[in-house]
Structures are given as structure tokens and as C-alpha cells.
């Protein structure tokens, strides 16, 4: 049994167990922190940065990703400060043009993110990696992966694996916040070699 620690989230004393993250502790206490790349079955990834919260430690405050930051005794966490809201608003404004879908739009509304502030190619994918990581960490199939770096980064099916597994598995479908996966299968992208997909760009 791991040690119990007490921290403060939004002014409330919250009990948690050592080794938990801020996000886990908050959710257990019924405090909602928005996320897009987090999944309870998967290792923290820290890519969407939407779960950013402000912490105060040794008198100094800073922003951290709550999905990964471990709880500590006496840690002070603020989940909805002005700075935090500003970060989330801008992140959503950056994501909106990529995938203006349900979960992203409703979060955008909550944080007052303006649609159309930025323009980018509509890819239906925010590169949260839920599909890639779920397929690797939970399903163990490794049928889908990231290719390319930086701006070239995209999700691709592994052609040797995907056609045999994906049509019957489809576990990642409902995880996808951007709707890319469904779109990809309907375009029958499963068997296109990765190299071709890159050169097509």
C-alpha cells in the first residue's frame, strides 16, 4: 500500500496516494480537468497540454501537465486560474482548424476559444496519439504508428499488420477526438505503405 498524501486542489484538501498524478487525484475528488490525449489505461503522454494546471511549490508557482505531475504532500494546485484558462484557450484555438469536432468544439466554447483565429490544414487529427498508444500499450497489436517529425508528423497504419487486425478490432475508433481513424479506414488507407503516404504529401 503506498503512502497517503494530502494536497490542496482549488482550495480543497484532497487525499491521494503517493505515485498518483494530479489529474488522477483531482478526478477521484470530483474535480474536472480537461484532457485530450489522456487515457486512464495508458501511460501519461503530455502532448495536448490541455490539462495544464498551476502549482505552488516552495512559494513559487508554475504551470505543469497534471496528467503526469506526481502528487506531493502539501502541494497546492489551481486548476482554473486566469493563466491556465489562457493557455487552454490558445491551445484550443490552435487545434480547432485541424479538427473542428465535437469534443474540441465544446471545450473551445467553454474556454472562449475563437474559431478562425488560426488557419491550418484540416487533417481531422490532432496527433494526440491515443490510437497509436492504445494499439501498442493496450491491444498490443502495433498496427498504427507515427511517421515523420515535427510538421511532417502523421499517424499511419502499418500495412503489414493493419489490414488483418483493424477491421475487426476498431478499439481505437471511439478514442479518436478528431475523427481521423474512421475517415482513414473508409478511405481504405490501411494497406497503403507508409512511404507512399509520405510522398503523397
Amino acid at each position: 500500500m503506498s503512502r497517503e498524501v494530502t494536497l490542496e486542489i482549488d482550495g480543497r484538501k484532497v487525499k491521494a496516494r503517493e505515485g498518483m498524478t494530479i489529474l488522477e487525484a483531482a478526478r477521484e475528488a470530483g474535480i474536472e480537468i480537461p484532457t485530450l490525449c489522456y487515457h486512464e489505461k495508458l501511460k501519461p503522454y503530455g502532448a495536448c497540454r490541455l490539462c495544464t494546471v498551476e502549482i505552488v511549490r516552495e512559494g513559487r508557482s508554475r504551470l505543469v501537465a497534471s496528467c503526469a505531475y506526481p502528487v506531493e504532500e502539501g502541494l497546492i494546485v489551481k486548476t482554473e486560474t486566469e493563466l491556465v484558462r489562457k493557455v487552454r484557450k490558445l491551445i484550443l484555438e490552435l487545434l480547432l482548424p485541424l479538427a473542428p469536432t465535437g469534443p474540441i468544439k465544446s471545450l473551445a466554447k467553454k474556454y472562449g476559444a475563437k474559431e478562425g483565429r488560426f488557419k491550418a490544414e484540416l487533417t481531422s487529427c490532432i496527433l494526440c496519439g491515443l490510437c497509436v498508444r492504445f494499439c501498442a500499450e493496450d491491444t498490443g497489436a502495433h498496427a498504427i504508428c507515427f511517421v515523420g517529425r515535427g510538421a511532417e508528423r502523421q499517424v499511419a497504419f502499418v500495412p503489414e499488420v493493419a489490414p488483418n487486425i483493424c477491421p475487426t478490432c476498431r478499439e481505437c475508433y471511439e478514442l479518436c477526438p478528431g475523427g481521423k481513424i474512421v475517415e482513414a479506414e473508409s478511405e481504405s488507407m490501411l494497406s497503403i505503405p507508409i512511404s507512399e503516404k509520405i510522398s503523397k504529401k
Binding site: A47, R49, G129, E152
Partner: protein
């Protein structure tokens, strides 16, 4: 002869033997064959010198030492002749004959190969009298001139591995950590984290085995400090690493070197092999019972792999991508084991601190940033190259005393420290002492030691765009602020350079910078805000000129510049006309040539080739209306 060193006394004995075999009076030509000088032809020079020596039967009577970087790269190939320590600059292969016949045989100095002081025209005989060297404190780079990096005997002759012997036989690991802590040494890779504290954290962290790592990913454009150490004095870095391993309790080490540094890879690999052969690395080091092994890992070329977690991912065989590190790599790093990663230059300081003591180290530099720092001084300064200075020296001294000021009498505009993710520092802060905290306060950073000087002809908006573009290209693409934020920032900067920016764009740039700084996953993203924020803070007027007046003050941004042929200066020589790649220039004999603005692609070729300086740049891009058929006014050709 292969000897294995056991014990401190034996190291001393070996050293005495090496020294006794050497005659101090035997002439030695030490030539830099590091990357810079090699590209200027030093290898050919070596061949010619060999031929000359052979021709005169002097092959056995003169030593040829192939060394690492000597610093003043711009004036390479560089060589030094001993005894007498005669420094020659810009030596060409055809100088080989004179060097042997005059300097080696007759002891005469070849005046034309000496350094010429550009302000006095005087030829300088002693290295320490050359301004570029006079104001330096060459602690780590000093021995580069005296060492053939492929020969461990050179290093031992200069007292190499004595610090290791002292550490192994006279100090407890805790005492070494304490000494490094007391020295105040801070990480030279850029962060400036106290090295001793890092060591202590790894030492005390639970988990075995522990790892020590060298970061030689040095990816900043225009930076080559670590390269010079790795190429020129690899045993120094290795000795520091072995001492660190002993202090921390690590049994395995990794040297991460970027593949783009083939000579560094070669020299450190050889150094490791030699150290193993001589009992200085591997099992039971020097008979102390301490065992430690080192492997070289070659990086595949990603800038982001210089980030600690990405570097460790890469060594583990995965994509070099940063991961969350709220638990420090010192506790949970390579393969989730306690790992101590330090930069090349940090490790190189260790043997000196162990041998000479923390108090001596603290006597150099400033109380909060002790020691020296190597910078690669590049850009629009007269003297470019590697400089090593005590911390606390001012930017002005580096740029104007060591660097000799700005080229062609132009005006200084800004200095950019810390690589692409550093900030721009304007003239009013030139008297800032160079240390970790002062540079950070100005919105820039020490970084690993890149220092790029810019003059009045540099457009700050354009350079910011260049850096943001570089960082965007090098972003791993994992987190949203860095991938999407830099994408948008780059787009906005492109717009501004094209004269399509708005004042609202400036605010958006600042918002994006804040997001990068506050919410990025790794330091590539958090520091990417520096060039944007400092350029807006210190050079807002340049942004405003681009946005409001459609004017590029430095006349760099193509879309905002027009080329105009001044009819009072044009001599109708036809050179611009012939060189224009798009036939945008019309004219004939005795008739002033006219640039057709609709056709002109603003490549600047006419501006560059005109022998009369008749082609002028206009920004905003509204030159006087062109007049066709104007007769030239004859004048004498300007030089």
C-alpha cells in the same frame, strides 16, 4: 608498447618515461587538422611539410604534430612551431618549403605568415599579444595546441589522468561530489544547473545500475565548442567522465555524439580504446577495484535529441523524442535508472577542479558562475572563432576586444547568445557581464555558447523568422504548443516579412510566445519563445516599420525592397544587364540601364555586381519612376 597503469606511482613513472624520451629542443610543427582548418586545406599542407622534411632528410629530426582546434579558425590553416612557440596564420601548402628551409633550419621567422594587427598593421610574433587571444582565459582549450588527440602519451605528458588517480586513490566518492558542489560548476550545456547537485541526486537515487552520459549533440547553427574539445582533447572529456562515474557510482557510461561530427566520433572512440588498453578504463581501473565501461552512441541528426530525455530515448533505441520529466532523469533516466547527463564542456572542467581544487576554480569567473566558458564567436565581427573567457566578462569585451568589433566599420545591432532559441541582446545591454543569470534576465540565455553578432545590415524580423523556422523544422511534433504554435508563429513572421502583417499579429506572436514558454513539453518549446519575445521587446520599431510603413530598415526582406539604378551613377557598362537572371534590365551603350520593377525578382545580383555602386536598394519598395533613354554621365570607375 602496451603498458597498463596500476596505481598513482606508476602513472608518474610512465609520464617521466614519456617526458624523458622527448627532447624539448627538438623542433615540432603543430598543425591544426580539426574540421575548420582541414576545410581550408591543412591536410594538404601536412603532406607538403612531410615531403619537404623528407627531401632534406629531416623526417626523424622534426616532429609533425596533428592537433585539434586552436581557436582562430578564420585565419586557418593555423600552425605553431616549437621551440619558441611561433604562431603562423593562413598557411598555404606552398608555404611548406619556406617553413622548413627558413624557420626550421635557420630559425628565422617568416614575417608574411605572422598575424597582422588590422588597426596598427604591425606583425605580431607572440600569440598572447594578439588581441583575439590576449583577453581570453584558455583553460580547457589551452592544451589543444600541444596534443595530438590520437596519442594518449601527449595527454599523459601534460599531466593527464592525474586527476583520476587523485580521485581514485586519495578521495572518497562523496568527497569528489562535495568538491564539485563546492566549486560551483554549473552545466555548460545551457541550463546552468549546479553540476555537483546533479551528481549527488544521481548518487543518492535508488536503482542500479547508474549511468553517466556525455551530451555532444551540439546542434545550434554556428556552434562548435564541444566539437573542438572532442576533436582536440578527447581524453580530457573522458577523464572527467570516469571521475564522475566513480563519484556517482556508475558502472556504465555513454558518449552521445552527433553523426555529423565524424572526427569527434573517431577521436573519442580511439581515446576510449586507448584508455582501456592502458588500464585507465574498463575493469579494475588503475588497480583501484573500480570498474567502468563507456560506449559511443552516434546521433542520427535530430536537434531535439540534445534534450536530455530525447537523448536517452535515442540511446535506448527509440525515436529521439522528449518525454515528461517531472521525475528528473538524475533519478529516472536511461532505461528508467538514475542517469547523470552532462555536456562535453562540463565534463572537461572536472579534471581541473579535482586536481587544482574548488577554491582555485572559484577564483575564476563570478561567484554565481565560476570558471570559464567557451563561445563560438561568429557573425559580423572581424575575428571569428572559438573563444574561452572567464565568466563575468562583458559582451562588449568579447565582441569588441576579442572579436575586434564589427566588420567594414558597420554599426552593431544585436548579439544573439544561446543558439536559435536564445534571445537578441541590443546595444544598451552590451556591458552586461556574461554569466548564466544575467543573460537569462535579459530574456536570452547562455545556452551552449553560440554567439552570433549582427550589424545594421541584419533585419531582426528576418532573423527571427529564420530561427523560428529552424525550431519549427526541428520540433519533434509531439506537443501542441511547439508543433502548432511554432507553425503559426512562423506563418505570421513570414507575413510580416512580406509586408502583409498587422499590429494584431504582434499581439498574437506574443500570445504564442507565452504559450510556448508556459506550456511546452520540453525546453525546445519553452525556449523557442526567446527570439520572438526579445526581438519584439528590443526591436519593436523594426516590426512596426515592416507592418506600418512596409519598410525593412535593413533592406533585407525581399518583398519590401526594390532595386533602382541611379542614372547619375550608371555607366551603362552592361554588367548588370548580362547578369540579371530574368532579363529585367534594359539598356544599351551610353544609355542608362533601367530595372523593370514588374519583372525584377529582387535577387540582388545587379546590386552585387555593379562596379559603380549605381544600383541602390529602396525600402519601402517605391523607387523613383524609371526614365528610359537617358544618356550616361561619364565618371571615373570607383574601386
Amino acid at each position: 608498447m602496451t603498458w597498463r597503469i596500476r596505481g598513482k606511482k606508476m602513472l608518474e613513472k610512465i609520464r617521466s618515461e614519456i617526458l624523458s624520451r622527448r627532447e624539448p629542443s627538438k623542433p615540432c610543427i603543430a598543425i591544426c587538422v580539426s574540421t575548420g582548418c582541414t576545410s581550408l586545406g591543412s591536410l594538404e599542407l601536412v603532406e607538403r611539410l612531410k615531403e619537404e622534411l623528407e627531401k632534406r632528410g629531416l623526417t626523424d629530426k622534426v616532429d609533425l604534430k596533428l592537433t585539434g582546434c586552436l581557436g582562430f579558425c578564420e585565419l586557418g590553416p593555423r600552425l605553431t612551431i616549437y621551440p619558441g612557440e611561433i604562431p603562423y596564420f593562413k598557411v598555404k601548402p606552398e608555404d611548406a618549403e619556406d617553413i622548413v628551409s627558413q624557420t626550421i633550419i635557420k630559425g628565422q621567422i617568416i614575417e608574411r605568415l605572422l598575424y597582422v594587427d588590422p588597426s596598427t598593421g604591425e606583425r605580431i610574433r607572440r600569440l598572447e599579444d594578439i588581441p583575439f587571444y590576449r583577453y581570453q582565459y584558455r583553460l580547457l582549450l589551452e592544451n589543444n595546441a600541444k596534443i595530438d588527440p590520437k596519442n594518449i602519451e601527449d595527454y599523459i605528458a601534460l599531466g593527464g589522468y592525474q586527476a583520476l588517480a587523485k580521485a581514485l586513490f586519495e578521495m572518497k566518492p562523496e568527497e569528489i561530489v562535495e568538491e564539485i558542489k563546492r566549486s560551483g560548476l554549473r552545466g555548460r550545456g545551457g541550463g546552468g544547473f549546479p553540476t555537483g547537485v546533479k551528481w549527488e541526486t544521481t548518487r543518492n537515487a535508488p536503482g542500479e545500475p547508474k549511468y553517466v552520459l556525455v551530451n555532444c549533440d551540439e546542434g545550434d547553427p554556428g556552434a562548435f565548442m564541444d566539437r573542438a574539445l572532442m576533436e582536440g582533447n578527447p581524453h580530457l572529456v573522458l577523464e572527467g567522465l570516469i571521475i564522475g562515474a566513480y563519484a556517482i557510482g556508475a558502472s556504465q557510461g555513454y558518449v552521445y555524439v552527433r553523426e555529423e561530427y565524424p572526427l569527434a566520433v573517431k577521436n573519442i572512440t580511439l581515446a576510449i580504446q586507448q584508455a582501456q588498453e592502458h588500464g585507465l578504463l574498463g575493469e579494475d581501473i588503475m588497480g583501484s577495484g573500480f570498474s567502468f565501461h563507456v560506449k559511443v552512441h552516434r546521433g542520427a541528426g535530430a536537434f531535439v535529441s540534445g534534450e536530455s530525455t530525447a537523448l536517452m530515448s535515442a540511446i535506448e533505441g527509440r525515436v529521439g523524442e522528449p518525454r515528461l520529466k517531472y521525475i528528473h532523469t538524475a533519478v529516472k533516466g536511461l532505461w528508467d535508472k538514475p542517469s547523470c547527463l552532462n555536456n562535453v564542456e562540463t565534463w572537461a572542467n572536472v579534471p581541473y577542479i579535482i586536481l587544482r581544487g574548488a577554491d582555485w576554480f572559484r577564483s575564476i569567473g563570478t561567484p554565481d558562475s565560476p570558471g570559464t566558458k567557451i563561445f563560438s564567436l561568429v557573425g559580423k565581427v572581424k575575428n571569428t572563432g572559438l573563444v574561452e573567457v572567464p565568466m563575468g566578462i562583458t559582451l562588449r569585451d568579447i565582441i569588441f576586444k576579442i572579436g575586434g568589433g564589427i566588420r567594414e566599420g558597420k554599426k552593431f545591432k544585436a548579439v544573439q547568445t544561446g543558439g536559435p532559441s536564445g534571445g537578441f541582446i541590443p546595444e544598451q545591454y552590451l556591458d552586461t557581464p556574461v554569466d548564466f543569470d544575467s543573460l537569462t534576465k535579459l530574456g536570452s540565455m547562455m545556452g551552449s555558447g553560440g554567439m552570433i553578432v549582427m550589424d545594421e545590415d541584419t533585419c531582426i524580423v528576418d532573423v527571427t523568422r529564420y530561427y523560428v523556422d529552424f525550431l519549427f523544422q526541428e520540433s519533434c511534433g509531439k506537443c501542441v504548443p511547439c508543433r502548432e504554435g511554432l507553425k503559426q508563429a512562423r506563418k505570421i513572421l513570414n507575413h510580416i516579412c512580406e509586408g502583409k502583417g498587422t499590429m494584431e499579429d504582434l499581439e498574437t506572436l506574443q500570445d504564442l510566445s507565452e504559450l510556448l514558454r508556459n506550456a511546452s513539453l520540453c525546453a525546445l518549446g519553452t525556449t523557442a519563445a526567446n527570439p520572438i519575445m526579445t526581438s519584439i521587446e528590443y526591436f519593436r520599431n523594426e516590426y512596426e516599420a515592416h507592418i506600418l510603413e512596409k519598410r525593412c530598415p535593413a533592406k533585407v526582406c525581399k518583398a519590401l525592397v526594390a532595386y533602382y539604378n541611379n542614372p547619375e551613377k550608371c555607366q551603362a557598362c552592361g554588367i548588370c544587364l548580362r547578369n540579371c537572371p530574368v532579363q529585367a534590365i534594359s539598356g544599351e551603350k551610353d544609355i542608362v540601364h533601367v530595372i523593370n520593377q514588374d519583372r525584377c525578382i529582387r535577387c540582388g545580383v545587379c546590386f552585387a555586381v555593379c562596379p559603380f555602386n549605381a544600383v541602390e536598394k529602396y525600402s519601402p519598395a517605391t523607387p523613383p519612376p524609371a526614365k528610359y533613354g537617358v544618356k550616361v554621365v561619364r565618371r571615373k570607375k570607383e574601386k
